[in-house]
């Protein structure tokens, strides 16, 4: 095997690093503390570089950065602690529309997304359906050339900054649940939509969005009527290339080491010289190396067009579970000062480790809980029967 990146990807990495070193400023990092994990400024600069467009497959009209280059971009963004979630949604959304959308959607929505003018939001989850996403109850009823949509979506993160939501609706209640779903791209300025903030333990803002007799022309439909489950599979495929989070532990370990090199224990010894601390750091660094090969494998699979398997589930499961473990280890090492939040002058490393501790628990939940991913590995990789 060959784990080296092709020269094009390495050159791109150099370019990305230079760009991020310049543009991921303290102000951009500070901006995240508003709870909206996004920087319009950075996002638009990246769009101007052609990187959003670049992520879209060439055959779909994109800029033809391959999956390895995109994985390099995502990796570097995480190492620079730049916000990645909103960008990921934009790329996924544009790709899905380019693959499955009609000409209207391709012309109307995609350019705005890729130019960095508009953000998107995922509208899959509902108050009563999370892991069981196919149980969506938001109703879309046909009325001539229009659809009338009623329902509620949860975890529509970025909705308050976004122009569009990709909405999973139920169009047929008389068939098995997977067979009565239809997708729409819904502009948030359509009358009848209300957005309410949902605040979290990580101090990030998500949203609940409410749809009250929202009327939408049929041209906003994405994919076939009752064909939503096929669209969902395409959506998952595009998340494979751009899913982030594999390197969450990298800045955490970096900060912990930096702190441990400077901080002295009450007995005067440096934290970095504590063998128990050293053992945990080494274990975390090994885990991170595993995250790296997992992520590389996912990117490689996408680059060579390998059939979509459970690699994404494995990567996400391992990276998020170890991140949660590491964040718990490292906040402990800081002692009582580990509790201090960003903004407090004595907070070790500006409170980043404390933030990681509060953020980590959601990473084993969102985008497929660890339980769902273990189900997928058991069924898809080990060939065990569906547990339910």
């Amino acid at each position: 095997m060959d784990f080296s990146y092709p020269p094009r990807a390495e050159d791109f990495r150099t370019e990305v690093r230079q760009f991020l070193a310049e543009h991921v400023t303290p102000a951009v990092l500070e901006e995240q503390h508003s709870g909206t994990v996004h920087s319009w400024e950075l996002h638009q600069k990246m769009a101007a570089k052609g990187w959003l467009n670049g992520a879209v497959p060439e055959e779909l009209g994109g800029g033809g950065r391959d999956a390895l280059e995109m994985s390099v971009l995502i990796e570097e963004l995480q190492l620079f602690r730049a916000p990645i979630d909103a960008m990921g949604v934009v790329i996924a959304l544009a790709s899905i529309i380019l693959e499955l959308g009609n000409d209207f959607l391709k012309d109307e929505v995609v350019p705005k997304l890729l130019r960095g003018e508009s953000l998107g939001s995922f509208g899959y989850s509902e108050p009563e359906s999370g892991s069981d996403v196919a149980a969506a109850q938001t109703k879309a009823v046909r009325d001539g050339d229009e659809w009338v949509i009623n329902g509620t979506k949860m975890w529509t993160t970025m909705a308050h900054e976004a122009d569009y939501v990709i909405l999973l609706t139920r169009t047929n209640a008389d068939v098995p649940k997977h067979k009565g779903l239809t997708f729409f791209i819904v502009p948030f300025d359509t009358p009848g939509i209300e957005i309410q903030p949902v605040w979290t333990m990580g101090y990030e803002r998500s949203n609940a969005t409410f749809y009250d007799d929202v009327r939408l022309d049929d041209k906003w439909r994405l994919g076939d009527v009752d064909g939503g489950w096929a669209v969902m599979k395409t959506a998952l495929k595009f998340e494979r290339g751009i899913a982030g989070g594999q390197f969450f532990s990298a800045p955490l370990i970096e900060d912990t080491i930096a702190h441990a090199r400077r901080h002295r224990r009450p007995d005067g010894s440096l934290l970095i010289d504590d063998p128990v601390v050293r053992e945990r750091l080494v274990r975390a660094m090994i885990d991170l190396e595993v995250c790296r090969v997992f992520a590389q494998r996912v990117a490689y699979g996408a680059a060579v067009g390998a059939p979509f398997g459970v690699e994404g589930s494995m990567t996400k499961l391992f990276a998020s579970e170890t991140f949660k473990k590491h964040s718990n280890w490292f906040i402990d090492i800081l002692g009582v000062e580990g509790l201090l939040r960003h903004g407090e002058p004595d907070a070790p490393m500006g409170g980043f480790i404390e933030e990681s501790f509060r953020h980590a628990p959601v990473t084993t939940i969102y985008g497929g809980t660890s339980e769902i991913n273990r189900n997928m590995v058991a069924e898809g990789h080990l060939g065990l029967p569906r547990a339910r």
Binding site: W155, T200, V276, I331, G335, L339, F357
Partner: protein, 338 residues
């Protein structure tokens, strides 16, 4: 041997379970954020006699046992009560034992003043990030070899993970009195560990109760989430640990109260085990809430955060393990001779 609460303790438990359920409702807990202290709740708690309950009647206290106090601490932990009850009770017992004539004792027993214990010795006279530090008027702590007591207005404290009422406190402030030495301090610290273990037991049990209630009510794939075996086993594992933590905390309290030679180690063990178990219980319960567990709206995240802060106010658990190793195995360098 008796491994159940006495009738008296059971009465105490019922009374304070009711008290905290009523007065430290989740709304009260949330309203106390980010300060982490509710003076109204403290005032009501003082009216119950809890702040001085475990000081002897001779010294003007309630004459209750340490075990009674532990029962109250468990109920306070269960409701995340935003009052430094354990810190106050320990500090007050310490003053009563070391300096029964100290002018502060009466008001501490009555709860007219909030007293706390600095868990780590002061550095340059300052006790760092003391739990209850942003709530207490009276601080007891170790400055060099001196156990000192100082009074003063609590400063505002820093924002932190679990909205704990933390603040630095100056142990050399005007009016400071030396009231004893390191041995009194060690005893108080062991009591803090055992009672905080009890509080963490309440917290962990309630975190699991919240989780069980949620997974029974929440349906996915047309069945309750709680009918999935992976969820059941995660909760079962956590609940076994909590059960062990509960009895270990009881044992530590018993060991301290009965003058067991190993009581300090027992308190340390009980604290470490309860801290890890309560954190794991809250984390498991949060996980099985799915996204809601992470949202401010649901209560489990409060338990998750406070389990961590109730632990870390004592410092890195790794340091406590190191200290316990020195006591149980002998200090490093003495192995061959021990």
């Amino acid at each position: 041997m008796r491994l159940e609460l006495t009738e008296d303790e059971e009465t105490v438990r019922e009374v304070f379970a009711g008290f905290f359920a009523q007065e430290s409702s989740i709304e009260v807990v949330r309203a106390s954020e980010p300060v982490g202290f509710d003076l109204g709740l403290w005032t009501k708690l003082a009216q119950t006699g809890a702040p001085g309950m475990a000081v002897s009647e001779a010294a003007g206290g309630g004459g209750a046992t340490l075990a009674d106090l532990a029962v109250v601490a468990t109920e306070a932990g269960r409701r995340l009560a935003p009052v430094p009850l354990v810190e106050h009770a320990v500090a007050t017992r310490l003053v009563a034992a070391a300096a029964p004539a100290d002018s502060s004792l009466g008001s501490l027993i009555a709860g007219d003043q909030v007293g706390i214990l600095a868990l780590a010795p002061a550095v340059d006279g300052v006790a760092r990030l003391v739990p209850g530090g942003s709530a207490a008027n009276v601080v007891v702590g170790l400055d060099g070899d001196d156990l000192v007591i100082v009074a003063g207005e609590p400063p505002a404290g820093p924002a932190n993970t679990g909205h704990a009422a933390l603040a630095d406190r100056d142990l050399r402030a005007e009016g400071r009195r030396v009231i004893g030495g390191a041995s009194h301090y060690a005893r108080a610290r062991a009591e803090w560990q055992a009672l905080t273990a009890s509080a963490l037991v309440g917290l962990g049990h309630q975190a699991l109760d919240i989780g069980v209630e949620y997974v029974m009510q929440r349906q996915q794939f047309d069945v309750p989430v709680g009918s999935f075996q992976a969820v059941q086993h995660g909760l079962a594992t956590a609940s076994v640990d909590m059960e062990g933590a509960e009895y270990l905390a009881h044992k530590a309290v018993w060991a301290l109260a009965s003058g067991h030679a190993d009581a300090d180690n027992m308190a340390s063990m009980a604290f470490l085990f309860a801290a890890e178990s309560a954190q794991a219980a809250a984390a498991a319960s949060l996980q099985y809430h799915g996204g809601y567990g992470y949202s401010d709206e649901y209560d489990i995240q409060l338990y998750f955060r406070r389990a961590k802060s109730m632990t870390l106010v004592h410092g890195d658990p790794g340091l406590e393990i190191r200290s316990l190793a020195d006591r149980l195995l002998g200090p490093v360098g003495t192995g061959a001779s021990a």
